[in-house]
């Protein structure tokens, strides 16, 4: 069927539904209103509050002073470093992630699920701990010290890849899993070599997922903070570290505002480009669940590179584990036993075990918040648009919810303090502020997981349901839900992991009596005391183990996913 006939088919069908021309925009607004409000209050308002302080520095509007900042040579250096380091790290993460996505989502071998869950662990580890682990490995006295990588840009890139390769594996893997194997088999039967099949059949089909993953990873890399400072030995500054320095140390809000604007513009451009690259002529795909098969000879390269990746990810984590099992140079479980205490010299107000409970409870909240908002957003942006304007609005909404990825946590944190202080929005000390902030960070991942799946549903199925007398809600429940159910679980697992590991915004908002685990780890590692360092390592191992268990459980619930970013 050509696009033309499909289109006329669709209009004929939908004219039978009861949607009038006026109720459609209203329905659109109705679906979107909750997430947009949340984003408005907890993101747009605080960020514009900070920008306003920069632009109205002395009470009068002074955009010139802000723009002047962008002309500084130092700013040029910082921007250049951010762009190239994030680009290279993204490319490497994609190159390493693709074979692993194939091996972990198309093949079946013992221990596959554990490897899959383990590769997500770096994603949640606190940067400060990973930084220390990396430096023990790469440092002058470390086992890899001979490489002389400590304090170089290569170390920064390795750190960025370490943190983000999981995103590529998960996102691309989900799409690969449900890829119909038959076109590839047909090409092979016609004489195409495996490489040709991959280049001409598989890769084009995976393009939307790869572009989605790459754009998210790029945003994560470009706004990385701890990695750049810790592993770069202070010789490198990115836009994010510069904003941090300007805001928390120098209180130079004009310069910070200039860089924040730059970040926002860059994110918008990136989203536009990614949208272009992601667009495929026909998003509706037949989802076939290919049974994972046993590895064949041709899979050697994929398995080898997965193994390599596993080693790369495991090495820093192994230093963590070994360190956590040492007290005064001897093997001991002392650090773990100490987790129920408040640390040497009462470094902590609550034991690590309490913090773990707080983290899990917060993560539950952040997960349901981001899932429900993400679903609403996804439903809103994937309905078929009648007009160009409507389509623009939907696309704009889609992009709007990606913005939190591109804005500095410091800007958001300070923004909360100065804007959410008046009734009815006096929320500065609300216990829900932490899960809401984390939900905003996880939201883009949730949206990117669900949107392609919903977009892949043939609209005629809904119309068929409607013509059989189903109301809009019933149609959603019978048509959309069964398809979106499993990717939703996958997205939930991701949101949960994001919440468990989130540090930037949380450290700003966490309440003293109820700190989360990463906040406690940060505190332990920053305080002298014979046991505190060991306890920080042990607590990180606990965080990593918790994440792995949660991921394994989600994998069990998940069954094969049909999701894609």
């Amino acid at each position: 069927m050509t696009a033309r006939t499909r289109w006329s088919n669709r209009t004929r069908w939908s004219s039978r539904t009861r949607w009038s021309s006026l109720s459609r925009p209203l329905a659109l607004a109705g679906l979107a209103v909750v997430p947009v409000l949340v984003l408005g209050v907890f993101f747009v308002l605080p960020v514009s509050g900070m920008l306003q302080l920069g632009f109205w520095a002395d009470g009068s509007f002074d955009p010139g002073a802000v723009l002047e900042v962008l002309g500084r040579p130092r700013v040029h250096r910082v921007v250049w470093f951010t762009v190239w380091s994030a680009s290279v790290a993204t490319a490497v993460a994609v190159l390493l992630g693709l074979p692993a996505a194939h091996a972990l989502h198309r093949l079946r071998f013992p221990g596959r699920d554990v490897v899959r869950a383990a590769l997500l662990v770096p994603f949640v580890l606190p940067t400060v701990v990973v930084g220390v682990a990396f430096r023990q490995l790469l440092g002058e006295a470390g086992p890899l010290g001979f490489l002389r990588l400590d304090g170089t840009a290569v170390a920064i890139l390795a750190g960025l890849v370490f943190f983000n390769v999981a995103v590529v594996i998960r996102v691309v893997g989900a799409a690969w899993e449900s890829l119909d194997p038959r076109p590839g088999e047909a090409a092979a039967a016609l004489g195409a070599s495996p490489a040709q099949v991959f280049r001409t059949v598989t890769l084009p089909a995976l393009r939307p997922a790869i572009v989605s993953a790459a754009s998210v990873v790029f945003l994560f890399c470009a706004t990385a903070f701890g990695v750049v400072l810790t592993l770069g030995g202070l010789r490198y500054s990115s836009v994010e570290t510069e904003i941090y320095l300007l805001t928390t140390n120098l209180l130079d809000l004009q310069a910070a505002a200039a860089l924040s604007i730059l970040q926002l513009v860059a994110v918008v451009v990136l989203l536009l480009v990614a949208g272009r690259l992601r667009a495929v002529p026909d998003p509706e795909v037949s989802r076939v669940l290919a049974r994972p098969r046993w590895p064949a000879r041709g899979d050697v390269w994929a398995l080898t590179s997965t193994l390599l990746l596993l080693v790369l990810v495991a090495a820093p984590i192994a230093t963590l584990v070994v360190g956590s099992l040492h007290v005064d140079g001897d093997w001991s479980l002392g650090n773990y036993r100490a987790l129920t205490t408040n640390g040497t010299h009462q470094a902590l107000l609550v034991p690590v075990t309490d913090a773990l409970v707080t983290s899990l409870r917060t993560a539950v909240d952040a997960t349901w918040m981001s899932l429900s908002m993400g679903l609403l957003v996804a439903f809103t942006v994937t309905r078929r648009s009648r007009s160009r304007a409507e389509r623009r609005v939907r696309r704009g909404l889609d992009g709007l919810f990606m913005l939190p990825l591109g804005v500095s946590a410091v800007t958001l944190g300070f923004g909360f303090l100065i804007t959410l202080d008046e009734p009815p929005l006096d929320l500065r000390s609300s216990p829900l502020l932490v899960p809401i902030a984390q939900a905003l960070v996880a939201l883009p991942l949730v949206v990117r997981t669900i949107v392609p799946v919903l977009a892949g549903i043939n609209d005629r199925q809904r119309q068929a349901a409607a013509s059989l007398g189903a109301g809009p809600l019933r149609a959603v429940l019978t048509v959309d839900l069964p398809v979106v159910w499993k990717p939703l679980l996958a997205a939930g697992g991701f949101a949960f992991a994001v919440s468990l590991g989130e540090f930037g915004a949380t450290s700003f908002l966490a309440r003293e009596e109820h700190p989360t685990l990463p906040v406690v780890i940060y505190r332990l590692i920053g305080h002298p005391g014979p046991m505190n360092y060991g306890m920080a390592l042990a607590a990180s191992v606990v965080l990593a183990a918790t994440t792995t268990v949660v991921m394994l459980v989600v994998e069990r619930l998940r069954v094969p996913s049909v999701g894609a970013f």
Binding site: A141, D365, R428
Partner: protein
């Protein structure tokens, strides 16, 4: 129909499950919302007050103490400056002598004087004529050396700032950077005090040429690179505190394996103050007085790794024995710091990232 019923059942079950098992924070009492009977303390994330002392304050003053702690001294100061028209608490603790001028210039603190215990006045902030800030604790940022390492290598450890640029100590010094660490900033200020506003740049060039290594934070330098830290570092000279040697006494030993170089120190003083526009001025003032009370002063070393400012407070035995305080340390006028911080940090970044 079937799937929608299943879905609502699932939703109901999930909600029930979350609420019953307490897996969610929704519906939880917001324990730190301020009320008339509470006093809200804004502080940095190194603040620790033993539970017994918190209870004591609450009993004596009749107010509940609500603590909002996050960030370092710099973040704390900037938070207070940004929210000065609608303060986020009643009283603040933790603004130090490198950031205090910024807070005073912005009008964050209200004047409050009381009959301070003997000794505290010695630490008053220069230029704080209306007595808006009350000194609570002090500590010195000093270069530390691993004495065991130097003994093993038959080498005399360095003593002064100048020694650190001596080729004999090449590639042995690790320190947190001034831009990202308040400890690092204190050391930069020490060198500015020692070599003057036009001389410190030359010193830093020599220091970097001699292989000094910069890290992002104190924990990185001490735990990873320092030979006596948690890891297996290979640098025996580190920037830390005058109290650090008290934490490196091997089990059963009579001496610490590290010592602080007392001619390289910069003194940090932390203050408490009543916030301008506080809702509970009475409670805020009670808290400031409480911080200088003998019990809190005695608890400072163990809980926050700092020394008391009040005379005659007994130190923990480890501290009394191993943590030696310098008699004379470097100082920079707080007003100068406020005026030049930006410029100094920029110059410093240029020199060190060359």
């Amino acid at each position: 129909m079937k799937s929608s019923r299943a879905l609502s059942a699932l939703a109901a079950l999930t909600t029930l499950g979350l609420t019953v098992t307490g897996c969610s924070t929704v519906g939880e009492e917001s324990s730190d919302t301020s009320t008339d009977s509470s006093v809200v303390l804004v502080t940095h994330d190194s603040f620790v007050l033993p539970k017994a002392l918190k209870k004591k304050f609450e009993q004596e003053s009749g107010y509940d103490l609500v603590v909002r702690a996050s960030g370092d001294a710099g973040q704390l100061t900037n938070k207070l400056v940004l929210t000065k028209d609608d303060p986020i608490g009643d009283v603040a603790f933790g603004v130090d002598n490198t950031f205090a001028s910024r807070a005073l210039d912005a009008g964050v603190f209200a004047p409050y004087s009381f009959d301070e215990p003997a000794g505290a006045a010695d630490y008053a902030l220069p230029g704080d004529d209306d007595h808006r800030l009350t000194p609570v604790d002090n500590g010195n940022v000093c270069v530390n050396v691993d004495d065991t390492w130097f003994a093993d290598h038959d080498q005399a450890p360095p003593k002064t700032l100048d020694d650190l640029t001596d080729p004999a100590y090449q590639d042995l010094f690790v320190l947190p950077g001034a831009a990202t660490s308040s400890t690092g900033m204190a050391f930069l200020l020490a060198t500015i005090a020692a070599y003057g506003e036009d001389g410190w740049q030359g010193y830093w060039s020599k220091l970097m040429d001699n292989g000094a290594k910069l890290t992002a934070g104190w924990s990185d330098a001490y735990e990873v690179d320092f030979t006596q830290g948690g890891g297996s570092g290979d640098r025996p000279i580190v920037l830390s505190y005058d109290s650090s040697p008290a934490f490196t006494v091997p089990k059963g030993a009579k001496t610490s394996s590290t010592s602080a170089l007392l001619d390289t120190c910069f003194e940090q003083v932390e203050y408490a103050g009543v916030l301008e526009g506080a809702g509970n001025v009475d409670g805020a003032e009670a808290f400031v007085r409480f911080m200088d009370s003998p019990e809190v002063q005695a608890a400072l070393p163990e809980s926050m790794y700092v020394f008391p400012v009040v005379d005659g407070v007994k130190l923990p035995s480890d501290w009394a024995r191993y943590a030696v305080q310098p008699t004379d340390s470097y100082a920079v006028d707080p007003a100068d710091v406020a005026a030049h911080r930006d410029e100094w940090l920029r110059d410093w970044s240029d020199i060190t990232s060359r």
